[in-house]
Symmetry: C2
Subunit: 201 residues, 2 copies
DNA sequence: GAAATAATCAACTCACTGTTCAATAAATAC
DNA sequence: GTATTTATTGAACAGTGAGTTGATTATTTC
């Protein structure tokens, strides 16, 4: 009756997850089969079904983990001061931590961003923004009355944009450091895309 | 030897496309089968294979059509004057036309935005921006030297953000008119998300 | 070392795939 | 309108993967 997981389970799940990532990169999620996963992970196909209902369940569980990790990092936003917020949108330290997480799990993130994972992650970020920034009535939040456009569209705009940049960074081979990426993203969001583009120089 | 398509082919393809849209909304693209499509479209399953290699081919061809339509509308940007550009990023008329297209094909667009279609459309918009705005050396283009951040990230940011807002609009049931949406989108992009949010009021 | 449990292996049913071919229906061409 | 061409149908086919089961083996935990 120990809370720690049997080593065999851990090893099997890790092998399955690694196989999933490799196969998504190889042929895309729709085209891969449970049989493919079993072969790539060097496990019996029946073993897969001891842990997951089907390949969709596997993707869902994998996504859940990423969402949890992301939420944990992002919710540190509560600790920031108003001054920081007005200057840099979200603290650069938080953004950097997020990019470090994406950096450490690059293959996984890149793989799930080309599945419905993109939609799931964008939706989660949007929800967090709406809940923690546009809704709450604290010092850090933005008053709804001050909004010049509906907050749902603002949240969708920013959330979607951010993951677009993350994906571009991963696709280009992560040439910039996490800190540089945080700087770029905050720069665009803080100044606005067109000012950052130098249109009004 | 006529260039026009046999009426039967047109009807069959339209039925297949409509079935695809309905089924994506119903159970998602990964989970739907060719058999599902044939039943929903009221055609023989063998007929499907007379027109498409498999369901992936169907999605690809459907996406190609949307990409072509979008490109046709967007490339009218070439006709705009520099003054218009500096004032509204892309002409409001173009943005409105795009939203009208999305409005007329709402089910289709909403269905493909939850497949890899999101990635395909964002990538296309990004490419068009890089080619027509950041790369060219004409009056309308933005000089690369003036950029404060790499243009690939700017393009990814804006392209991704725009389709995020389109998806939000579709998911919320298209409460705003195409013109209002064009206004909102241009407002955010032109002023920057945080100014539009009233942070600096 | 003993008990518990995870992984394996083989077998099986089921559903969907992708293809074929003869028969039929509907379009186009004259 | 009739003839010709062509799309669609229907049925049958082998092939592949899904998901499950039960007995057996291997590994881990206590």
């Amino acid at each position: 009756m120990n809370s720690t997981e049997d080593r065999r389970i851990t090893r099997t799940k890790e092998a399955i997850c690694a196989a999933l990532v490799a196969l998504i990169e190889e042929k895309g999620f729709e085209a891969l089969s449970v049989k493919d996963i079993a072969i790539k992970a060097n496990i019996n196909r029946g073993t897969f079904y001891l842990h997951y209902k089907d390949k969709f369940d596997l993707l869902d569980q994998t996504l859940d983990q990423v969402v949890q990790d992301m939420e944990r990092i992002l919710l540190e936003i509560r600790l920031v001061s108003v001054a920081d917020f007005k200057e840099t949108w979200i603290p650069k330290a938080i953004a950097t931590k997020l990019f470090e997480y994406f950096n450490d799990n690059a293959s996984l993130i890149q793989a799930i961003l080309v599945t419905k994972g993109n939609f799931v992650l964008v939706t989660k970020l949007k929800q967090l923004m709406l809940k923690n920034i546009f809704e709450k009535d604290e010092a850090i939040s933005i008053k709804k009355e001050k909004l010049l456009v509906p907050c749902e569209y603002l949240a969708s705009y920013i959330a979607s944009a951010h993951f677009g940049v993350v994906q571009e960074w991963l696709d280009r081979g992560r040439r910039e450091t996490p800190e540089e990426m945080a700087e770029i993203l905050l720069n665009i969001t803080f100044r606005g895309p067109l000012v950052a583009a130098g249109v009004f120089s």
